[in-house]
Amino acid sequence: MPRINDVGGVDGFGPVVEELDEPPFHADWEAHVMAMNRALIRRGVYNLDEFRDAVERTMSHESSYYENWFRAIQALLEERGVV
């Protein structure tokens, strides 16, 4: 069974919405999440494939991109007993 992230060709997500002059991050916390993730991977707390897996198994289409990232980071840290 495909995971929820495997959306290629799936109907029902509505139109593609393009935001003009979009900034790289919409809030400071998004930048923090991105940077925190890179730093944790560089330190070997988890690796990039583990992070991808965590995003795929914890994500929700109701959440924003970086909300899903933050949920995955939290899951990985909890599973490793870090937090």
Partner: protein, 196 residues
């Protein structure tokens, strides 16, 4: 980025987690600044624009780029090794008959170092789902209407392989310098949701 006055619940939760990780010695605020600096300054679509302009003006470079982009990029001081892992880059060329467009159906794989941070629409389920089944319709939403005779090829990126579109050089640009040509290229042109 150390000053953070965002009082939304998620911003607070991110700050809390950061504080815990700092306390445990797993995170250093200066490290976060460095990571962000590298991300926002080195990853820029201007890099992709330079690659395209060079390919338009230097036939030898164009050939090398299409054959092995990873080996050609260092000619412009660029590489695909700036992120967490080196990725194979495949540059796909638009022609009169074929138009290329990129997607990552599974997540958000994207050649950051050449295109800069990816737009939200590229990461949206709507784009990822639809561009593979109805590419012509999606391109029309971006204002790009292609002749019926043009074949559309959709390239699905993954963890190891990334793609970049080499748009067609616009007509009437024979007199322009490489820098002037680079200024014609857009980020969406490198993804394939614009002609150039």
């Amino acid at each position: 980025m150390s000053d953070d006055h965002d009082d939304s619940p998620i911003a607070a939760r991110v700050r809390e987690l950061e504080a815990v990780l700092e306390e445990k010695g797993l995170l250093d605020p200066r490290e976060l600044d460095q990571v962000l600096e590298a991300f926002t300054h080195r990853a820029s679509p201007a890099n992709g624009f330079r690659v395209v302009a060079r390919a338009w003006t230097d036939e030898g470079f164009r050939t090398r780029l299409l054959e092995n982009a990873n080996e050609a990029l260092p000619e412009l001081g660029l590489s695909m090794g700036g992120g967490l892992q080196v990725q194979r880059l495949h540059v796909v060329e638009n022609t009169e008959d074929v138009h290329n467009v990129l997607v990552c159906t599974l997540c958000s794989c994207y050649p950051l170092s050449l295109l800069g941070p990816s737009p939200t629409w590229y990461k949206s389920p709507a784009y990822r789902a639809k561009v593979v089944s109805h590419p012509r319709e999606v391109l029309e939403q971006f204002g790009l209407t292609l002749p019926e005779t043009t074949r559309i090829e959709v390239w699905d990126a993954n963890a190891e392989s990334r793609y970049m579109v080499l748009p067609r050089r616009p007509e009437g640009t024979g007199d322009l310098t490489e820098a002037e040509l680079a200024a014609l290229v857009t980020r969406n042109g490198l993804i394939g949701t614009a002609a150039v």
